[in-house]
Symmetry: C2
Subunit: 282 residues, 2 copies
């Protein structure tokens, strides 16, 4: 399928070169799964987008507008792989005068685009993935932590560290040596009787699939069933060496079990399998 | 004057919404002074742009192309304020597929734009400026330090901390409590017998005017004349309380003496005046 793009509701390939999204990365985005013409977890994506806009002081466009534009565009997906496509929504602060200062009256801009579903081997969901450690350390900026903003050079540089197509993802620590997650995914571990994911108060993106897993673990009393409790806390790199299970999440992949981290190999565990099944059903 | 814009040499207002400059802030830029139709310190700006591209792994467009496009556009400046205008050059990694991964063959994109000269009170150069401390702390990312890249949300957020038009600039520390500079300028201090500017190994942008001042201080033996030596080193916030002179630099303002930092007032000193005169003459 060919990429299609709508700017403020009009189908067009271009945006103003004076948009602050280009000039300064001054905006936020969402990457969403479209299955059979419908956006998965659209409400949750818009919730996060609104929180991101609030964090940056961008007047988020009306939720109805965003919801309708995303749903309408997704319905146009001429999806080629398993009836799946990717919908990306960007909201920028809009066109402004040159300079960092934000003038009153800038009109935020909406960019909705449809993209082909990525070609990942099906075995990655079933048998798990191989991941590596990135040498880049994520910088700590509490004011931007958790937000899926357009300043993504750290992710780009980290993703440039490897080209081996058999390595699915790279794991990142922050400058304090705490594990944060993958370049484009969140990380979960089963350590002892804990289902753990790194807390994202200094850096990282709080993914919608991360939230979905946390919600499931709480709501479904999965943790009680399995004798686990759920934690968002600092995670040391050494814990990847002892974790019983490790998996990655994002809106497109759902859950990928990790079968190898650096030199260590793991088997796909029962909690990971159970969460995959529950997520698939929701 | 109206903003004019050229993309890859063609006069147009728009760029592809799929450009990685918008998608990820994946690019670098320069902001240059145009005086009487000529770009000031164009060679130095292109030097820094090339270093930034190298740091990000972007294939920088040929220097001749960049040089000629900037010079040609600057000559088109219908400058209204003192025959001055601002030329901005952006180089992005170009259009790519969705996702952080950089594919081979992406063609970097050049965006050259002409803007009106900012309306700063002339007294700011002569009598000095009032600056404040920002509460935002710059994050530490050695891989991006010094580079004028398109991930500028920290600068945008810091600039949103104040709206008082009498405050010319905000000063920023990093998360280690070291002073880095202004939101859009570099900082110099005279402390004892040192001409000091913060070293920029963890964050900050290494400005072309900062380099010009450092070059002048070395070449012209200004420091020997005045019994000063030049240092790029860590600067503690407390040193702003004891510095004899403080000034700010960037490509548009040249040198602004600082006459007030927070509660402390300063007088414009002889080193600042001398450097202003020497810069004006170069």
């Amino acid at each position: 399928m060919k990429t299609r793009c709508w700017v403020n509701g009009n189908e067009q390939e271009f945006i103003s070169a004076q948009d602050r999204g280009l000039q300064y990365g001054d905006g936020v985005f969402e990457t969403m799964a479209v299955i059979d013409g419908e956006v998965r977890r659209l409400a949750q994506h818009l919730d996060r987008l609104e929180r991101g806009c609030a964090g940056l002081g961008i007047h988020c466009p009306p939720r109805d507008t965003l919801f309708n534009e995303c749903a309408w565009s997704a319905a146009r997906a001429n999806a080629s792989v398993l009836n799946r496509a990717v919908l990306k929504l960007i909201v920028t602060r809009g066109v402004g005068e040159r300079g960092y200062r934000v003038r009153e009256g800038a009109l935020p801009r909406r960019v909705v685009s449809l993209h082909p579903w990525p070609h990942h081997p099906p075995s990655w969901s079933e048998e798990g993935v191989v991941v590596r450690w990135c040498s880049l350390n994520l910088s700590a900026q509490p004011l931007l932590a958790g937000i899926k903003h357009l300043n993504r050079l750290e992710n780009v540089l980290a993703r440039r560290e490897w080209s081996d197509a058999d390595i699915a993802e790279g794991l990142l620590c922050d400058t304090h040596g705490q594990v944060i997650g993958g370049t484009a995914s969140n990380l979960f571990l089963i350590v002892g009787d804990e289902l753990v994911t790194p807390r994202l108060v200094r850096c990282g993106v709080a993914g919608t699939m991360r939230s979905a897993v946390l919600d499931l673990a709480h709501e479904r009393r999965l943790t009680a069933d399995l004798g686990l409790h759920v934690s968002e806390r600092d995670v040391l790199r050494a814990e990847l060496e002892t974790a019983r299970e490790v998996f990655l999440t994002n809106a497109l992949i759902g859950i990928w079990p990790v079968r190898q981290v650096g030199e260590r190999t793991l088997t796909v565990g029962s909690v990971t399998r159970r969460l995959q099944g529950l997520l698939f059903a929701t």
